[in-house]
């Protein structure tokens, strides 16, 4: 018997309601198109709210020497020369405009004494560049965009989890999914689809990422043939909480270091002077994360396996004003008063720098009609993302993806999603509902443990192979998954499908990491500790039947008019 489902028709379908998705929806709606946003969570709850430090934009309000050229240079150099120059150029040039636009929509940034937007220092940025609202910039950003979307003619369908993208020939034509809170299935036909589903930090056990970051967008795009890139590049944030165990991995904003925080080991040595005498605590994240990791590994860690981060030399008033959320977070979760005591911190999985490859001008992926923006996309951050560049990214490329999708949609017509395809997908999803099946959470636990143990900050062939073996073993168990209960608000059912995304992402990450036989940015191999000129290329991944196909493409050379701003790469 055929299952009933809801049919929706729209011009532009945006999957994901974080910063990138909402910004894309605004562009598409402003272009006069019927726009539908769907999201796995409630609107306004996306992982963007977790962003704390700020938006990197070279306004030059605090350091007048700053300009887009310097921002461009910072992205290229700190991304260790595998970023796409055009994507970096667009970001650096357009982000100031996006910040002013947010302000026009009601966002309130902290101010300089003369009333302009205040900017704070952050690791790897040459100048003080991050426009911020205390340490809750992401919240301000998402609320502002949420208000804009709700006050426009945009259909928002939240708690709708997309399980499959539909393709007709070489073009994406819509998506199929299940609405959590009602248990109903949806088939949404669209002229263009924007994927803005965020990252996959949840494939690691210790992570700063929230519930939704399970790599669903990567899976959706990969399965219909979109090209992925740079997937070995996973950022570990230098400072996550370590204690109590329940909050292990929770982010401690880089703003703490930006506003004067200092790192110490258990001998009270300021060890960053050894690792990075010039930039110290404010070196790029890969450098500081490795330093913290090395200190802990060398037995100079704290009681709970971290290092100390101290800001108590600043006045309590300064701390509470600049870092109100950090103050409350440590007080309420750990019983630590950061105005008086040191914090214990250790690296935590933070950001997926790889993702769906896209065209810098339109944000279209290798699949016609499928656009990508934000953490799910790639090309900007290269081997290392600078703090503040992710919020910049979602605004600049969210807007461009929405426009790209709108332009595409204007030229295309709607195509019906075939009935049998919808029915097949519904049966597939419902096949996980059974009384006796393997618990998806137990597999997730094994997967995330294997990833954290073997595919962490320092990698080698032996451990990567171990992780790969584990992934293969877990993949075999996938078909035995099953959960009891019904269709409505059944997180167990959702977990079965998320696990598929997590397995795909983990495998791509591990296989790419095995291939890149050098150390570059966030990807550090103890068996290949040096950076190699041979590896000035990106690893791209495509689905090839049931296998993953890996290819290499040389990094596009930066044209001379831009290359003049960037220090040439040095190999030792």
């Amino acid at each position: 018997m055929n299952e009933s489902y809801n049919k929706v028709k729209t011009d532009v379908l945006v999957i994901g309601a974080g910063g990138a998705g909402l910004r894309a929806a605004i562009s598409a709606a402003d272009a006069g198109l019927k726009t539908t946003v769907v999201s796995k969570s409630l609107i306004g709850k996306a992982h963007t709210v977790m962003a704390e430090g700020g938006i990197a934009a070279s306004l030059g309000n605090v350091d007048p020497k700053d300009n887009w050229q310097v921002h461009f240079k910072d992205v290229m150099e700190e991304g260790v020369y595998i970023s796409n120059w055009r994507i970096a150029e667009i970001l650096a040039k357009e982000v100031p405009e996006r910040v002013f636009e947010l302000e026009k929509w009601g966002a309130l940034f902290d101010r300089t004494p003369d009333g302009r937007i205040l900017q704070r220092a952050f690791g790897g940025h040459t100048y003080r560049r991050l426009c911020h609202v205390g340490d809750r910039t992401g919240l301000e950003l998402i609320r502002t965009l949420q208000d804009q979307v709700l006050h426009r003619d945009v259909d928002v369908i939240d708690e709708l989890y997309i399980t499959q993208l539909v393709k007709d020939g070489d073009r994406v034509t819509g998506a199929i999914g299940i609405k959590m809170n009602t248990g109903e299935f949806y088939a949404i036909s669209a002229k263009a689809v924007v994927i803005a589903t965020g990252g996959a930090g949840k494939v690691y056990k210790v992570t700063s990422n929230s519930w939704e970051s399970t790599g669903d967008g990567i899976k959706l795009a990969y399965e219909i043939g979109a090209t992925l890139m740079d997937m070995e590049m996973f950022q570990f944030h230098p400072t996550g909480m370590v204690y109590p165990p329940g909050v292990r991995g929770l982010l401690v904003t880089e703003g703490v270091r930006g506003d004067g925080g200092i790192l110490y080991n258990n001998k009270m040595e300021r060890y960053m002077l050894r690792y990075s005498p010039e930039k110290k605590e404010l070196d790029a994240r890969d450098v500081v994360a490795r330093a913290n990791y090395a200190e802990i590994q060398a037995g100079r860690g704290t009681e709970h396996g971290g290092v100390y981060l101290d800001i108590s030399h600043k006045s309590p008033q300064y701390i509470k004003e600049k870092l109100p959320h950090m103050y409350m977070q440590f007080l309420e979760f750990a019983g630590v008063d950061i105005t008086k005591e040191k914090m214990e911190v250790a690296p935590t999985t933070h950001y997926q720098m790889g993702g769906i490859r896209f065209d810098p001008e339109t944000c279209m992926s290798s699949v016609k009609g499928l656009f990508a923006a934000g953490e799910v996309a790639c090309g900007l951050h290269g081997a290392n993302r600078l703090g503040g560049n992710s919020l910049a990214d979602i605004l600049v490329f969210g807007k461009r993806a929405g426009e790209g999708a709108a332009d595409f949609a204007k030229k295309e017509s709607l195509r019906e999603i075939p009935e049998d395809e919808v029915q097949a997908q519904i049966s597939y999803v419902l096949s996980f509902l059974k009384e006796k099946g393997t618990n998806p959470y137990s597999i997730m636990d094994q997967l995330t443990t294997a990833m954290s143990e073997n595919v962490g900050i320092i990698r080698d062939e032996e451990h990567l192979n171990k992780a790969l073996e584990k992934i293969q073993e877990l993949k075999k168990q996938y078909s035995s998954l099953g959960v009891p209960g019904g269709r409505r608000y059944n997180h167990g059912l959702l977990a079965c499908m998320e696990l598929k995304s997590m397995l795909i992402v983990s495998e791509v990450v591990v296989r790419s990491a095995l291939l890149r036989k050098e150390s570059r940015g966030a990807h550090a191999r103890s068996d290949y500790p040096k950076k190699s000129k041979e590896w000035l290329k990106n690893i791209v991944i495509n689905k090839d039947g049931e296998n993953m196909k890996f290819d290499y493409i040389p990094v596009q050379p930066t044209p001379p008019e831009l290359a003049q701003y960037v220090k040439p790469e040095v190999y030792s």
Binding site: V49, R111, S210, F333, D445, G486, N490
Partner: protein
């Protein structure tokens, strides 16, 4: 390590007439919060338990519930502060979807109805504002939309179906717009006439409950009420308006 005994409200309105509290035993982990315990049940004992959560860091406001009867965030309530009997139920001011999950969708409708931010005419960007002038609005913008203030508010709780009152969250939001230094609107009349501002009788339960410690009543609702009074009932204004209208002016 001791165990935690936890009573969780279970109810699927589609299949059951009434819900009930079911007891679960969960191993205690140091520093454990209620959300950890509930998720332990979900992952290891009964995967059909419905619970909404996102960040587990008090940033997102998804895991609102009533813990031992008190509206609280599950991610922020440490188990050891609760004694031996821990009960977790859904927010009562909202229609139940399943177990601990409620339908908070009415809030998006309220957000749509409150007039959006409207900057003054003729401003040249980049704008200039003083830090001191943005502090009040910023205070309200700490809101994580957990809707616990709505849940604890007796107007919302007892009269959810029939009241016009938008609830504390939306008063705070309107106030954050009204107190934006460059906003051009005054939403007090709207709040009074359509948002049910008058229903709030200043019991301040909302501000005591707010996990972000926003002084909702003192700094948002009372000033909006005062503005509404200024616009509507100011005796001197009425006198002047009355005199004008007697003269046949406008």
């Amino acid at each position: 390590m001791k165990d935690v005994k936890l009573s969780i409200f279970r109810h699927d309105p589609e299949t059951e007439k009434e819900g009930k509290f079911v007891e679960y035993t969960v191993p205690y982990v140091e520093g454990m919060v209620v959300l950890d315990a509930v998720r332990y049940v979900e992952e290891n004992i009964d995967t059909t338990l419905a619970v909404r959560w996102n960040c587990k860091a008090a940033h997102c406001g998804s895991c609102s519930a009533e813990i031992n009867g008190k509206p609280s965030l599950m991610c922020k309530t440490r188990v050891e502060t609760l004694g031996d009997n821990v009960s977790v139920g859904p927010m009562k001011a909202y229609p139940l979807i399943k177990d601990l999950v409620t339908d908070v969708g009415a809030n998006w409708k309220s957000i749509k109805r409150v007039p959006a931010f409207k900057p003054r005419e003729g401003l040249q960007q980049p704008w200039r504002m003083q830090q001191v002038d943005i502090e009040r609005s910023k205070e309200f913008k700490r809101c994580i939309e957990c809707f616990l203030c709505q849940d604890v508010c007796h107007v919302m709780r007892e009269h959810y179906e029939e009241t016009d009152y938008f609830g504390p969250r939306h008063m705070v939001r309107a106030a954050s717009l009204d107190m934006h230094p460059l906003d051009d609107l005054n939403r007090a009349r709207f709040l009074n006439e359509e948002g049910g501002l008058g229903y709030c009788n200043i019991t301040k339960c909302c501000q005591e409950t707010c996990p972000e410690h926003i002084p909702i009543t003192d700094n948002a609702i009372i000033p909006e009420k005062e503005r509404a009074v200024d616009i509507t009932y100011d005796p001197i204004a009425r006198l002047i308006i009355g005199r004008k209208s007697r003269k046949g002016g406008n």
